[in-house]
Amino acid sequence: MASHDAKAGRLPGLFVNPDTSSFTEFLGAYSPELLPGRRPLPAVSAGEEIPHGTTIVAVVFPGGVVMAGDRRATAGNVIAQRDIEKVFRADEFSAIAIAGTAGIGIEMMRLFQVELEHYEKREGRTLSIEGKANRLATMVRQNLGMAMQGLAVVPLFAGYDEDRDAGRIFSYDPAGGRYEERDFHSIGSGSVFARGALKKLFRPDLSAEDAALVCVQALYDAADDDSATGGPDLTRGIFPVVASVTAEGYRRLGEDEVGALARAVVEERYDSPGGPTAPLR
């Protein structure tokens, strides 16, 4: 451990200074260079050669929320990664997913995870869901300079709200604007196509399993029209990451569960490539 204290050996003063329960603030005092927002901005705008993560969807169902992301990262026209993971546990009752510059996004996600856990351990209570969402907004805002240089990161945050016994979704803009979404949302390059699908497939009384199916369908539609979004890769067995958050906590669906959903979706598309049709009236 690097010592920032003259009295070598002992916990450095910063470690025992009781002023904040925020890990980010502590990190800013301890090693500011480790914070994503504290680095010198690149002099020129970043090109397309840095990998970008793409489409994320989230759907609320009674008693929880499901979040899913495709597995592709692109660098310009190249597929940089076929099996990247973009949906993560934020804490026991929330999930975070990232779209945009993958490197910075993953760093932000890790920092956010530690931030929530750190607060919980120090204070003996978890942050409210709004508190978590606001904390994430601050992190996104700190990345604004990078975003202006072409390295934007936009997360999607979803969690279970104990007080309301319901799932909630929060979206962000690169300037740190925080918006609560109703029912469903999508972000990333394929989000326009995914949102269209979500709009037609969403019902307020979805079961957890059907909500996961809606997400897989929407991601299929995104991959269908957006070259940066990866569809289910049946030959390699690479399927979207799907996670649900309910009163039981965060749960990432198993490979077999998502595999079965994805195979069913692909199978059905042989007959109707556009997916399920909505009633006309």
């Binding site: 451990m1 910063l14 890990f23 750190h118």
Partner: protein, 229 residues
């Protein structure tokens, strides 16, 4: 006009002072059981914890002066989180944390007039009982590597003696909790501890991700009832 006090006398006075402070408090017991490590404190407070989570597999138990061990706990959480963030979650170990605490306590004991009146346990649950680690730290920075069980606090000797008589390796949670509570009752002649005056937590190796879990009063009550209380 300063009088000369020999270093031996100075250290002895400080140690006596610290021991006296610690012996005023109630006891805490840490013991290994089949699924991990069990922590039981004779502590009626719901807000001021003596047992806490430090990291995925690591927990902390303390007796003595609250503000002093709380200060160490908060520092430990920062130490663990920053190391896990910079390296990997697996790189945060009880051994590393025990070392930092030992250095801190040792420096405070020798360099300041007032030593910390605390005693700590830092424990890490392993994949198997053989790889569990329990470190006991005293006010002067000494570290002891413990196996099986530890008792600290007010009547630590009486509690440790009771533990020695009752402790069995690989006990179930119910049995281990009974052992712990019976041993804590040895603090006084006619002590009976109920669920609401106990703080209980486990590091359970069968859990996922964060292995620390605080047991709510209702669960403690159910376990004690099962143990035939």
């Amino acid at each position: 006009m300063p009088f000369y006090v020999s270093p031996e006398q100075q250290m002895k006075d400080k140690a006596d002072y610290a021991r006296k402070g610690i012996s005023r408090g109630r006891s805490v017991v840490v013991l290994q059981y089949a699924d991990g490590i069990l922590f039981v404190a004779d502590n009626p407070s719901r807000a001021l914890h003596k047992i806490s989570e430090i990291y995925d597999r690591i927990a902390f138990a303390a007796v003595g002066k609250y503000n002093e061990f709380e200060n160490l706990r908060l520092g430990g959480v920062r130490y663990a989180d920053i190391n896990g963030y910079q390296y990997d979650r697996r790189d945060v170990t009880a051994r590393g944390l025990a070392n930092v605490y030992a250095q801190s306590l040792g420096t405070i004991f020798t360099e300041t007039n007032k030593p910390y009146e605390v005693e700590l346990v830092v424990a890490e649950v392993g994949e198997t009982a053989e790889t569990d680690q329990i470190y006991r730290l005293t006010f002067d920075g000494s570290v002891a590597d413990e196996h099986g069980y530890v008792a600290m606090g007010g009547q630590a000797d009486a509690v440790a003696q009771a533990l020695k008589e009752r402790y069995v390796e690989g006990a179930s949670l119910v049995e281990a909790l009974r052992t712990a509570v019976r041993s804590l009752e040895a603090q006084d002649n006619d002590r009976h501890l109920e669920a609401k005056s106990l703080e209980v937590a486990v590091l359970d190796r069968n859990r996922e991700h964060r292995l620390f879990k605080r047991l709510p009063a209702a669960r403690i009550e159910a376990l004690l009832a099962e143990a035939g209380d």
